[in-house]
């Protein structure tokens, strides 16, 4: 699995590379200190699956970086790894198409756990975002196909890309998305990602089943 780590703090980047290499299998890391470098690498390596992105980069504050990476390579799942951890920032990142958000301030074992989830293709969001949502509704089971669409949403894929990946018509994907939103009781992709991440947690599933 090819992962791109974008952070302007070289020592932090090196640490992430080592951690990913240790907890993941067959992980190969590319490193970039700026968005420009990152975009060049993304364009060069079509097989990058995951991008760990710092929000506060040199000359490149904010969410524009997420957008630009998604524009260049829509298939790359962007995970924001940031020093800030306020809910508004996290939501804006998801709005901008990020799949997950890992605050740098979390404890080492939580960081390992978060990266493991991200490597496994699941969404990770810090707890405080969850608490802003109402309690989890009892979801009627989604079909495997619908769950695949949800995965696509999580990864920040466009409807068109999801359709292409699953070999479905765009129309069908849109219908599935509508069903998913209804099932999760949400109105947009950001809320869907947040809620889906909650449902994927074993402990919250247990609560949901009770």
């Amino acid at each position: 699995m090819k992962i791109l780590v974008v952070d302007d703090h070289a020592l932090f980047r090196a640490g992430l590379r080592m951690l990913l290499g240790t907890i993941g299998h067959n992980v190969s890391c590319l490193e970039a200190a700026t968005v420009t470098e990152a975009l060049a690498l993304v364009a060069q390596h079509g097989d990058i699956e995951l991008c760990l992105l710092d929000l506060s980069l040199k000359n490149e504050q904010g969410f524009g970086a997420i957008q630009r990476i998604k524009d260049t390579a829509p298939q790359v799942a962007v995970v924001v790894v940031s020093g800030s951890d306020d809910s508004a920032t996290i939501r804006s990142c998801i709005d901008a198409g990020a799949m997950s958000f890992i605050p740098k301030s979390i404890a080492p074992e939580v960081l390992t756990h978060a990266l493991q989830r991200v490597l496994a293709g699941a969404v990770y969001l810090p707890d405080q975002v969850m608490s802003t949502l109402e309690s989890v509704p009892l979801v009627g089971s989604l079909t495997p196909r619908q769950q695949q669409v949800l995965q696509g949403l999580n990864r920040g894929l466009s409807t068109k890309l999801i359709a292409r990946e699953l070999d479905l018509s765009e129309h069908t994907v849109k219908e599935y998305i509508a069903i998913i939103f209804q099932a999760l009781g949400v109105h947009n992709r950001t809320e869907a990602v947040i809620k889906a991440s909650l449902l994927q947690r074993p402990e919250s599933l247990a609560i949901a089943r009770r």
């Binding site: 703090h9 020592l11 080592m18 074992e109 960081l111």
Partner: protein, 598 residues
């Protein structure tokens, strides 16, 4: 009032006159009407007994005079003519005399033709007019006098002619009446003056208040600015402190995830780098806060600045060589009076910066005396061949956490506190710092302070370790309330051949003094667990036994306590004390005839 031009707090005569003529002019505007009514009244009174055309001629004349006065008054009021109030006043006096005289002409013209009763009535009216004149004149003695005399004297004279038997009495009464009216006007003048003074006082108060308000606003602005600066430092510090902590957290996760053994080396190197950067940052912040809070009390000792700077250069030779830079030094021997530690730190930070921001070429450190002014200046310059600093950034480079061209805040480039510390230190020791730079040619920092030309004992911080022979046989008293420390220090000192005597209380040390007299050096703990702290004890013993060198040792880290200790003027060593530091301190202290005591 258009005449008020004076700014002095006390009402001047001129200003008072200006006020007065202004008021008088306003009153005069009404006078033609008043005069017309007066003339009408007199006319009704005397009409049957005088010739009509004589009366009408007189009436027209008096009204014409009043109209003339009113016109002149209107011109003055409109004017702001910039006229001298004294001249205007003089004209008013003259006009008042003319007006009075035309009225009085009535007495001479009509009285002889009137029956007795009418004469008396006309006399009453004429005598009443000057009283009204006091109000119209607005308290000018001279206007009232001119008006009253020019009416009353002709009237009195006419009466005297008509009734010679009453002449003397009427004359006396008239003069008395005039005097009373003039006195009343003078009282009014005083009142006016007082009201002017009060107005001035009020204006002054308002001005003072406005000034005070401006001062308060300035102070508030300054406070806001300083709070803003503090917030900026705090924000930058919190970012810069968090960044390494986040990185450490990642490495902690790496270690917990049982990494391959070959990774461990890199992990430990990186952790080491992070911890160093963090340590530097914290030390810089603490230094800065100590300097800002005024807890650092600079020393005033004479020392060779060239030796201090040479020592710093020696420290940086290797680092410069590693970067492929040449560290050149041209240090003329200069002695200055001040704080050697602070100047060493200034030189160190400047040289460190120069090396950090220069990729190739050289760093030149020069020290020379400048005889341009008095006193001569010692000038330290540190120049590099780095990329240079834009002129617009000259002010900002001394700000905390400001780093040129390092928005990513890469910590291998330092923490951005070096120049902030340099500037604070320069302020503290009274040195001036300036910077000059040419883009892509290099930067030059210049620190100047008064050179010292006297010859005094010299003890620099880089003084060499004393030889065994220098220490041998010296008598040193050590006072500390911790017996373990006493024991270990005595052992150490005895190894160096020093005769060490220990005491665990002021009482005990007094006994030693009684028995052996003054020592070559007394080492005393700042906190003795008694009312008296170490420096006070040293003061007392010195008063009793004469000067002897004193070194204060302390385990205190609280800035306040350290500042107190520093202020005593004794050499201060902080526990734990490394043996070589202690040895050097003993060497320096015992070499001098007496330590500096304030």
């Amino acid at each position: 009032m258009s005449f008020v031009t004076s700014e002095s707090p006390v009402a001047s005569e001129r200003e008072m006159l200006a006020e007065l003529v202004g008021l008088h002019a306003r009153a005069l505007l009404r006078m033609p009407w008043v005069q017309s009514l007066l003339v009408l009244g007199i006319g009704l009174l005397i009409y049957p007994n005088v010739r009509l055309w004589v009366f009408l001629g007189w009436a027209a004349l008096t009204i014409r005079v009043e109209v003339g006065r009113a016109r002149y008054a209107a011109r003055i009021l409109r004017g702001g003519t910039g006229m001298d109030p004294r001249r205007v006043h003089a004209r008013f006096v003259a006009l008042a005399a003319v007006a009075g005289a035309t009225i009085a002409a009535g007495a001479a013209l009509f009285m002889p033709q009137l029956p007795m009763l009418y004469q008396a009535q006309l006399g009453v009216v004429l005598f009443a007019i000057p009283a009204a004149g006091v109000a119209v004149s607005q308290s000018s003695r001279y206007i009232v006098a001119a008006y009253a005399l020019s009416i009353l004297l002709p009237s009195a004279v006419t009466w005297g002619f008509l009734h010679p038997s009453q002449a003397l009495g009427v004359f006396g009464e008239t003069l008395l009446y005039c005097a009373v009216i003039i006195l009343a006007a003078a009282d009014g003048e005083k009142l006016l003056l007082r009201s002017l003074v009060i107005r001035h006082e009020r204006d002054r108060l308002v001005r003072d208040l406005e000034q005070k308000n401006a001062e308060v606003r300035r102070a508030v602005a300054a406070a806001e600015q300083s709070a803003h600066a503090r917030a900026r430092v705090l924000a930058a510090a919190s970012h810069d402190l968090r960044q390494p902590l986040h990185a450490l957290s990642v490495y902690s996760a790496v270690l917990a995830s049982k990494p391959a053994p070959e990774l461990l080396n890199e992990v430990s190197e990186n952790i080491d780098q992070i911890v160093r950067a963090l340590g530097n940052l914290l030390n810089g912040l603490l230094d800065l806060s100590r300097l800002s809070a005024g807890y650092y009390v600079p020393e005033h000792k004479t020392f060779s600045l060239d030796t201090v700077v040479a020592g710093v250069c020696a420290e940086y030779q290797q680092l410069a060589a590693q970067k492929g830079l040449t560290l050149l030094q041209n240090l003329n021997p200069i002695r200055v009076q001040g704080d050697a530690v602070a100047l060493g730190r200034i030189a160190r930070n400047l040289i460190d910066n120069a090396i950090k921001y220069t990729d190739r070429g050289e760093v030149r450190v020069a020290l020379c005396t400048e005889f341009l002014g008095s006193p001569p200046l010692a000038v330290l310059t540190v120049s590099d061949t780095g990329k240079g600093i834009p002129a617009t950034e000259y002010g900002r480079i001394f700000e905390e956490f400001y780093q040129l061209d390092n928005p990513g805040r890469d910590r291998s480039r330092g923490v951005g506190l070096g120049l902030a510390i340099v500037q604070r230190l320069c302020e503290l020791i009274g040195a001036k710092i300036s910077v000059e730079s040419v883009i892509s040619e290099g930067t030059s920092f210049r620190v100047s302070l008064p050179a010292f030309r006297g010859a005094t004992a010299y003890a620099g911080p880089t003084s060499p370790q004393p030889s065994d022979a220098a220490l041998k046989g010296k008598r040193v008293y050590i006072i500390d309330d911790e017996v373990d420390i006493l024991k270990s220090m005595r052992t150490l000192l005895e190894v160096w051949g020093i005769q060490a005597l220990t005491a665990d209380s002021p009482k005990a040390v007094e006994r030693i003094f009684e028995q052996y007299g003054s020592p070559d050096l007394m080492i005393v703990d700042l906190r003795l667990g008694e009312h008296e702290h170490g420096a006070q004890l040293a003061d007392r013993l010195q008063r009793q036994y004469g000067r002897f060198p004193v070194v204060i040792i302390t385990g205190e880290t609280a800035s306040e306590a350290l500042r107190q200790a520093n202020e005593t003027g004794y050499t201060l060593l902080q526990k734990p004390i490394a043996p070589e530091v202690l040895r050097r301190a003993i060497g320096v202290a015992t070499e001098l005839p007496a330590t500096i005591a304030l």
